[in-house]
Symmetry: C2
Subunit: 232 residues, 2 copies
DNA sequence: GCTCGTCAAGAGCAGTGCTCTCTTTTATTT
DNA sequence: AAATAAAAGAGAGCACTGCTCTTGACGAGC
């Protein structure tokens, strides 16, 4: 009884996975707007309406791809961090930066789906946020551990964060635990700086100007490290 | 002869402008992928094929909107800079930052078109780049003037840019004139940091975490100013 | 053995960008 | 003023999209 039911559910899970895989391949070549349910169905030898047995709408398929994307990026970041020495906080930060950029360059359309313009009419469901912060959690752990190891000695040039920032800092501390407001503020600047750079590079803003990008990126991220107070 | 010819060309120019205007309104409400030539034609009381007399393709209409967008943002940035004291370089930087963010918040879909995921299959023609650097030119002027006024005293924590950066720095100096490589590098970090923040805010990455955004943004941009070496 | 839920298939709806042809309007030339 | 050339609008049509609804087949549980 349950064995046959699982047999059915197993083929269902298998097909669901295959649809997502083909969709991901299409996403990689055509981009988000080029993702077509009918094309996926065609490639599977299915009729288009059959897809709807597995994904109630195109947006649901997109959601799956987004969650998978966040997880893939998060895993890449986790692996990069794990391959470094725990006490080498600067190395960990740089490893995270390069992991984000490398993954983005390898999966430009997926990156665009995660960090580019939101798909119009598409409202990200709550399921995505858990996966979305996976890389941020790694980043937060590095900052937090560096701070508590006394390895964060920021240059004394930045103004203190405004009082109005306290509330947001408390919320951020649910991810990056136990660091003072000013470190939260600096962490935010570095984090947005990382993704700002990657987005500029990927979305064509550097075209014709910044061409030798590997060393420029590395130096920019070292600059952020210096601003964070990480030792160089 | 020429007066009648201009009569025809005048109504043509008028219609072209009206199409672009309606398209911009649609873009503002529906987003880039929701921009439909047929809908524009419908709103104009035209038949869809007639639009093609004015814009050979949807991409051409998009190009027009993109150029207009860059110009609108560039003008906003220029005005913000012009409203400050020329010697107050920090104030000018902050004015530019807020102008970019304010414009982006007021025109989220247009900002997404300019700085978000590139539209798939769409190749930005050369016409766009002239308009695209308009805000960067203002920024570059501020940095350059601050440097030559001796107002740039960066904290001595950042590593010097790598030798491989020299070539790109030369290219950047065509926009930001006469500043040394390390200032170019810092300027790049701040510039990407600004747009990284705005993109995060606009594309939903701050949702549920950073809510009191005005003061947080202002502080973040002051931090970039400090890193640039601008006096606070 | 019969019923019932699951699934694939197909037709169809409303929409899209774009092209082609045909007709009407406008401007120029003879 | 009439004839000609150029430009623009109208409409049909192609191939495509997401999505819905109905029909028919198959396998599991009573």
């Amino acid at each position: 009884m349950s064995s046959s039911r699982t047999a059915r559910e197993r083929v269902r899970a298998e097909l669901t996975r295959e649809i997502a895989d083909i969709a991901r391949r299409q996403l990689a070549t055509e981009g988000a707007t080029g993702l077509s349910l009918r094309a996926v169905a065609r490639e599977m030898g299915m009729v288009s309406s059959a897809i709807y047995r597995y994904f109630p709408s195109r947006d649901d398929l997109l959601t799956t791809l987004i969650i998978d994307g966040y997880n893939a990026l998060g895993e890449a970041v986790e692996n990069a961090d794990a391959a470094t020495h725990r006490e080498d906080h600067t190395g960990r930060w740089l490893a995270v930066c390069h992991a984000v950029r490398d993954w983005a360059l390898a999966h430009p359309h997926e990156y665009a789906l995660l960090y580019g313009s939101p798909v119009p009419g598409y409202q990200a469901p709550q399921d995505t946020v858990a996966a979305a912060v996976r890389d941020t959690v790694v980043y937060g752990r590095i900052i937090s551990e560096a701070f508590h190891a006394g390895a964060l000695n920021p240059p004394d040039v930045a103004p203190p964060p405004p009082a109005a920032f306290a509330e947001d800092a408390t919320r951020v501390r649910e991810i990056i635990s136990d660091i003072p407001d000013d470190v939260v503020a600096r962490a935010l600047v570095a984090w947005t700086g990382l993704f700002g750079w990657v987005s500029f590079e990927l979305f064509g803003q550097f075209n014709g100007a910044i061409l030798n990008r590997d060393p420029a990126f590395d130096h920019a991220m070292r600059s952020h490290a210096a601003y964070l107070g990480l030792p160089l």
